[in-house]
């Protein structure tokens, strides 16, 4: 690692020596009247003086590192602590399932976007940006950066790094052939300009109502001083090509991706609390150590993070990681290991492994949402699926509580994919309509549609053939195959034949992309901050199981997919409006209107509210909140500030 020493080391050491001498003299003078109160005061003095980790203080004393004041920005970000001010030191051991398990790395050490989600997920606050102001139209966003903030190699972080990110990455057609949606509200790419060294402005052609939320998972900056040597627009093209050849890569775009890879490039300057020292490609473990230039402090002004080092052993199977946790070799983790099935085992091992649980609340609507392909290429099935009464009948025909009791040991609540009660957009009708178990009414509805019961107990559709469809599930995340087999059993009671077909994951995605499926099952999306992923309320994305073809139509501007019905088009238009609305009250109104239409249309149905999850935390591992929201957008548990976790020594 390269460390810039800005002062003459001798001068620093002389100053330090003088301070030490003075401190010693003071101590000697006060010795005769040593009373407890004084010692306490001395200790707090010592704490105040050393507002950095001992390992960094030692480096400063040796002249390897500039003093703390020069490493911190003028106004460091103050991070509240969950329970108490922490102690420096220790190693946080967790684990990666295979080398490509990047999400856990981001969730623990690398969630430092421009804005960040609050721990309760109700909105975003400035993070790497110090402040943000928006003009009245919502087209111009001015970000103030932190003066004196530095990259992990000691180089200053300025507006040029934001500009570099924009010019080198976003504007460049080779690395970004398609520009990110969140940078082009209304279709055209926004512009980034430098106002001064610590101020940048993002301006868009249309109002951008979602920008500040979307920045909660984006880093709109890149280390210009390091990365420009790998970019032909910023450095000699031949020199860049030489590096490409030397690293045996296909082209410079591959080099660009490779050098920006936070899991493998130890030289990449970062703004995270820890920086990589051993890459994940080393096969056995990934290691990160504290960033001496981290720009956050606790309420008493001590530089964060508290923990010295993060170690991620790379395991190939979940069972090994579970055994490691039982053995007390995992300090804090929920990912992969904390499944409902493992809970009893972890409960028994609490004492031996010296750990306890924390509660994980899922910020998603439901673990099981069942979407009929409402844009099915087969005309007969499509006409059946499009009947709202048919969907209502299917939703009424299965006993949700019985399935919850069997599969989730009673932990849940019959519910449709809908905003959670904690969400500002909770909609009671959408959440609970048609969740009662009423096969008589289901039969009545199906009779009403004219689907007469055939001789073998299966109803006949409009074309006189049996009503029969496939349910596509994959073998991951939730016991979907078991659940859907139970559900299909109930459906056969009311004369609808459904067959569960388990697919390999990429095949599932191929089929979905080709609109070639009858019913697909997946998890629901955001239950709290709906605007980020409203897939269950209207045809929003390829994850909107009921209308992938409709979503494609909207996203492609009508050139792909299938034209959706009027109600869905109205919702899509409302969302377009939402995206360019800045006023919060107006945004709420539009979102509620979208949800009202969703409740009326009843596009998709589900099984239950999410069960309560859990995670493992060692008894000496502090400042982890008792309850943590699980949400991918806020890189949970990162919204609870892992830099303030500490290990009691």
């Amino acid at each position: 690692m390269k460390i810039r020493v800005r002062h003459v080391p001798v001068l620093t050491s002389v100053l330090l020596l003088m301070m030490l001498v003075l401190a010693a003299c003071g101590g000697a003078a006060e010795e005769p009247e040593a009373v407890p109160a004084d010692t306490a005061a001395d200790e707090s003095m010592a704490m105040e003086e050393s507002r950095e980790a001992p390992m960094l203080a030692a480096m400063v004393a040796d002249g390897e590192l500039p003093p703390l004041d020069e490493r911190l920005p003028k106004n460091p970000m103050v991070v509240p602590v969950t329970e108490s001010i922490g102690q420096y030191g220790g190693t946080w051991r967790s684990g990666l399932l295979g080398q490509a398990d990047a999400p856990w790395v981001i969730r623990t050490m690398a969630y430092e976007p421009t804005m960040r989600w609050k721990p309760d997920l109700t909105g975003t606050i400035p993070n790497v940006a110090e402040s943000v102001t928006v003009n009245d139209e919502g087209t111009e966003f001015t970000f103030g950066l932190r003066e004196g903030m530095r990259w992990s190699d000691g180089e200053p972080f300025t507006a040029d790094d934001v500009l570099f990110w924009y010019e080198a990455h976003i504007v460049n057609d080779e690395v970004s052939p398609v520009k990110p949606l969140w940078m082009r509200p209304g279709g055209t790419l926004g512009e980034v300009t430098k106002v001064d060294d610590y101020t940048v402005q993002f301006s868009f052609g249309a109002p951008h109502g979602l920008f500040l939320s979307q920045l909660g998972s984006q880093r709109t900056f890149a280390p210009a001083h390091y990365l420009s040597q790998f970019h032909p627009d910023f450095d000699d093209a031949e020199a860049v090509q030489a590096i490409v050849d030397d690293m045996q890569l296909a082209n410079w775009a591959a080099l660009w991706g490779n050098r920006r890879n936070i899991l493998n490039n130890v030289d990449l300057p970062v703004v995270f609390g820890w920086h990589l020292t051993q890459p994940a490609s080393s096969a056995t473990q990934m290691v990160s150590e504290r960033n001496p230039y981290y720009w956050k402090v606790d309420p008493e002004g001590n530089q964060l993070p508290y923990i010295d080092k993060l170690v991620y052993p790379i395991v190939e199977s979940v069972e090994v990681q579970v055994l490691k946790a039982l053995n007390g070799e995992v300090d804090m983790q929920d990912r992969h290991i904390a499944t409902p099935g493992n809970k009893a085992q972890f409960f028994d091992g609490k004492e031996a492994g010296d750990y306890d649980f924390f509660t994980v609340e899922y910020a998603w609507e439901t673990p099981v949402s069942m979407g009929l392909n409402l844009a099915h290429p087969d005309e007969n099935l499509r006409s059946i699926f499009l009947e709202k009464d048919f969907r209502i009948a299917l939703s009424l025909a299965f006993d949700r509580q019985a399935i919850i009791d069997v599969i989730y040991i009673g932990d849940g609540e019959p519910r449709q994919p809908a905003p959670l009660a904690e969400s500002p957009w909770f909609n009671e009708q959408l959440a609970y309509q048609y969740t009662e178990f009423d096969q008589d009414q289901a039969n009545a509805l199906l009779d009403g549609l004219g689907y007469a019961m055939g001789s073998d107990g299966v109803r006949l559709g409009p074309d006189g053939e049996k009503i029969s469809f496939d349910i596509n599930v994959i073998a991951a995340f939730e016991p979907w195959a078991e659940i859907m087999n139970l559900v299909a059993g109930y459906w056969s009671d009311v004369g609808v034949e459904a067959n569960v077909v388990q697919l390999e994951r990429s095949l599932f995605y191929e089929r979905k992309a080709a609109y070639d499926y009858d019913m697909a099952v997946w998890t629901g999306a955001d239950g709290i901050a709906l605007v980020m992923d409203p897939r269950s309320y209207f045809p929003f994305s390829t994850e909107s199981l009921f209308g992938v073809a409709w979503a494609d139509w909207w996203r492609s501007g009508g050139s792909k997919g299938v034209e959706p019905p009027a109600a869905a088009q109205q919702q899509q238009a409302l969302y377009d409006e939402l995206a360019v609305t800045v006023d919060p009250a107006e945004k709420d109104r539009i979102m509620n209107e979208i949800l009202d239409i969703a409740a009326e249309q009843f596009w998709i149905f589900g099984l239950t509210k999410y069960y309560k999850g859990y995670g493992i935390v060692k008894n000496n591992f502090k400042n982890v909140p008792d309850t943590v929201w699980q949400w991918h957008v806020s890189a949970a548990p990162a919204q609870t500030n892992p830099e303030q976790y500490y290990i009691e020594q």
Binding site: A100, V178, A254, P313, K324, T523, S541
Partner: protein
Amino acid sequence: MLRYILRRLLLMIPTLFGISIIAFIIIQLPPGDYLTTVIAQLSAAGDLVEEDVIAGLKARYGLDRPMHVQYLKWMGNIMLRGDFGTSFEWDVPVGDLIWSRLGLTVALSLATLLFTWAVAFPVGIYAAVRQYSWGDYFFTGIGFVGLAIPNFLLALVLMYVAFKYFNQSVGGLFSPDFVEAPWTWARVQDMLGHLWVPMVILGTAGTAGLIRIMRANLLDELRKPYVKTARAKGLSELRLLLKYPVRVALNPFVSTIGLTLPILISGSAIVSVVLSLPTSGPLLLRALIAQDMYLAGSFILLLGVITVLGTLLSDLLLAWLDPRIRFDD
């Protein structure tokens, strides 16, 4: 003899080309490509992959080009520059990736091979010479159990035992303290402490098979007239046994070398996954699942080369060992 070796070596070239083409096609046969896998992985429980990310990746990996173009580019780079391409998933050159795992893989496989032979060889001879004795039944029983239990199950059981009763850190080949440590005597000891688990697991199945083969072959030989003749001539029993029938019965050991070599490299994927060993087996498995083309393709090509070489080697060894199958020059 030299001409024979030369001819065999020349024949290897078209064989390997065939292997590379078939490997490349098979890897691409499943629906989708590496990007589909990435999208499916990122979409896990809610993540949404934006179009811009996908388009960027597509251009970066050159996946939008037709299959034969991709193949020719890959093969061309191997032939001209010895460049096996870059792994999509790992973002590092394929060569580095395979090499970094080869050392421990070969160490583990060799240890397993020696363990297998050290056990199977004497036990097989004993079981044949003392046919239907108590010892024969005992080893036959153990052998069948070893053959019948799937390796991964044995791995899970041994792992649980190591955790429950020995309080040992499970998974991998080192304790947490030694993972990063430089090579010292203590680290070697630590590794040996972990190595025995996969060695025994991988060894049991192989041992059982070889014991049966050794026993059957030796029994055939023991009944042949030349054994009686030798015995009638007064040759000591041990010398007789080792000098003639055992030497003949060794043939199957040698002819399995050709098949053992690729296993040395590929490791035993499932057991390595279960035990989280940093060997090449899990790497290959993951590459195939993720359709990480260049990594999987290079791996299979490498295995092909080694199998072909191994077959040649075992043919030559057989000829050296058994004068009856020597070739006419």
